[in-house]
């Protein structure tokens, strides 16, 4: 017997159940298909403007900085301003995200490199597929559009998010991922990011910038 079957048999013996019990299977399939929701905190269930405001407040509470621009075309200038204000070089790396690619970066001084990071970049720019206002959380997905290495290797991570993509809760974001990728399917990596990297492993003193970015700057578009 394989290790797999032996493990399943041990579990069934302990539970006193049979693997071919149609009733049990139906219960499991119903949950996996129906994906029932549990308790959703009321705090995120707000009209659009207040929801975006909650997202901003929660993100700032965990030491992210947040800016907003009225339209996507203003994003490159907002990034340039942020880099200058923090004495960072006007050089960023991003993936092939069509939303970011369509922006007028050439109107700024910013030099844009493309593709995954090898650790040599000071600033990464990504486009979040969604956000959850309840905790100020960004949701990013892997792929050529937004390589996952950009979320972790550069010291500064700048993330653009459409105001319309900010949901009240995690469940709404997961429902939109399901609509985009199909039921039961996720991209290789989905990152929920809530503030910049930190550690409190030395005497419980909270320090920013452990292994991931020291700075997380969020630009809300629209």
């Amino acid at each position: 017997m394989s290790g797999r079957d032996a493990m399943l048999n041990r579990i069934r013996r302990s539970l006193g159940v049979a693997g071919n019990d149609a009733g049990r299977r139906a219960i499991v399939i119903a949950r996996l298909e129906g994906t029932p929701k549990g308790v959703i905190p009321a705090r995120g269930q707000l009209p659009r403007a207040e929801r975006v405001e909650l997202f901003r407040r929660m993100a700032e509470k965990v030491s992210a900085s947040v800016a907003d621009v009225p339209s996507a075309d203003d994003l490159p200038q907002a990034v340039a301003d942020f880099l200058r204000a923090h004495n960072l070089p006007a050089k960023v790396r991003m993936g092939a995200d069509p939303f970011l690619a369509a922006l007028p970066w050439s109107k700024t001084q910013i030099e844009v490199a493309h593709g995954a990071s090898d650790g040599g970049d000071a600033v990464g720019v990504s486009h979040a597929v969604g956000g959850a206002a309840e905790t100020g959380t960004l949701v990013l997905t892997s792929g050529a559009d937004n390589p996952t290495t950009l979320n972790f290797l550069p010291e500064t991570h700048i993330v653009a998010i459409g105001a319309d993509d900010i949901a009240g809760d995690y469940e709404t974001v997961f429902a939109s991922l399901r609509a985009r990728y199909g039921k039961g399917i996720l991209p290789r990596t989905v990152n929920l990011i809530t503030g910049p990297s930190r550690s409190a492993d030395i005497e419980q003193t909270l320090l920013l910038g452990a292994h991931g970015p020291r700075r997380l700057h969020i630009v809300i578009v629209g």
Partner: protein, 473 residues
Amino acid sequence: MEITSPAFKENAKRALRDPHLQQALSHVRHNFIDKRQKAVDGLAEFDALRDSATGIKNHTLAHLDLYLEAYEQKVTASGGHVHFAETAEEARDLILKICRDAGAKTVTKGKSMVAEEIGLNDHLEANGIEPVETDLGEYIIQIRHEPPSHIIAPAVHLTKDQVEQDFRRVHTNLPIDRDLTEPSALLGEARTILRRRFLAADVGITGANFLIAETGTSVIVTNEGNGDLTQILPRVHIVLAAIEKITPTLEDVSQILRVLARSATGQELSVYTTFSTGPRRPGDPDGPEQYHVVILDNGRSAMLGSQFQDMLRCIRCGACMNHCPVYHAIGGHAYGAVYPGPMGAVLTPQLVGIDKAGHLPNASTFCGRCESVCPMHIPLPNMMRHWREREYEKHLSPATVRYGIGFWAFFAKRPRLYQFATRWAMRALANRGFGRGRFKSLPLAGGWTKFRDFPAPEGKTFQQMWAERKKAA
């Protein structure tokens, strides 16, 4: 790690006399408790979420075989591999084989308590593969050759000065006169050193907080970002997790996430909650080429259907030890096992046997704080009581305890004699302690009075007072 639970009493005495440890533990007593309380107070639905999360785990455990099958099918469909390990030894060998097949020389590791449970680092090292712990706390204890003393804050038993000494001892190629007085300087030094290790590693090993049946996904929850660099940079990603991490859906994970960080560190959500599904996809510019999941049993399936099943709801938040007066006094190492504190006192006897771990379920005053803060409503004191009973049944309790209980039982089985004897004893003790209300020393109670006074009885037994109240009413 070497299990020293049989020497718990000596360990505890040593811990109480260790000034560094006592200084470090003073941070635990307040920080964790205050932060958790603030986070709990900040979310009106916290208790409803606890109930919801508890229900999800109960449902999952009752159908664990079927969810495991569904999970495996999804991982395979996304191009990953699932391996099943009955014992710690099997898990170690499976991981070693994957590393060898990948031609691995160095392996980066995200924080994993299951890796500690199976003694993975020693096994890899003995076979010529260098494991590099990358969580700051885990890195510190690795260079000290120590086990973790806490399940979410592995170096919580150390002071900043001790860490500085270790860094100076190990990082010998850095200037001797560098300033390491601030914790931020220590963090910066570890970041620089570990960044090189991340980029050079052949295999990355992480644990998992959840394995999602709906999507075949492993989830890790971290604050530093080390777990992510561990799993996206090397060619091979190995996930090591135990069977109880299976969770049905993304919605179910969302419920548990809302109680996990709040109970652990008092954060609303940890910084990085990362969902990983299979290896890199066609067109992906980064991510591992291979994705393996090693699922460990190691005695857990035997807990299903037993009086210890509820323990499998544990999500390893650490709230029970953060609130435990015994843990506060002696820290995690004194328990002499991988999992310390109340959850460890229940789990360790299952993993290493009650004959070795018998002291642990006895190292509790049953004050109940662990159960009251447990986000999964695990009845920890009750389960410690079950272990005490088993210890007694197996005749493993010390002779003094057995004779003591036998002595008490002799009277308890003879109510008239019991009442007479206790009345007499209470009156005698009350007379002798009169005026002070306490004893500085008592015959046969030196173990107690050596460290604190023994309160003197008021003069009447409970049964006497009960009878008087009844008469008055």
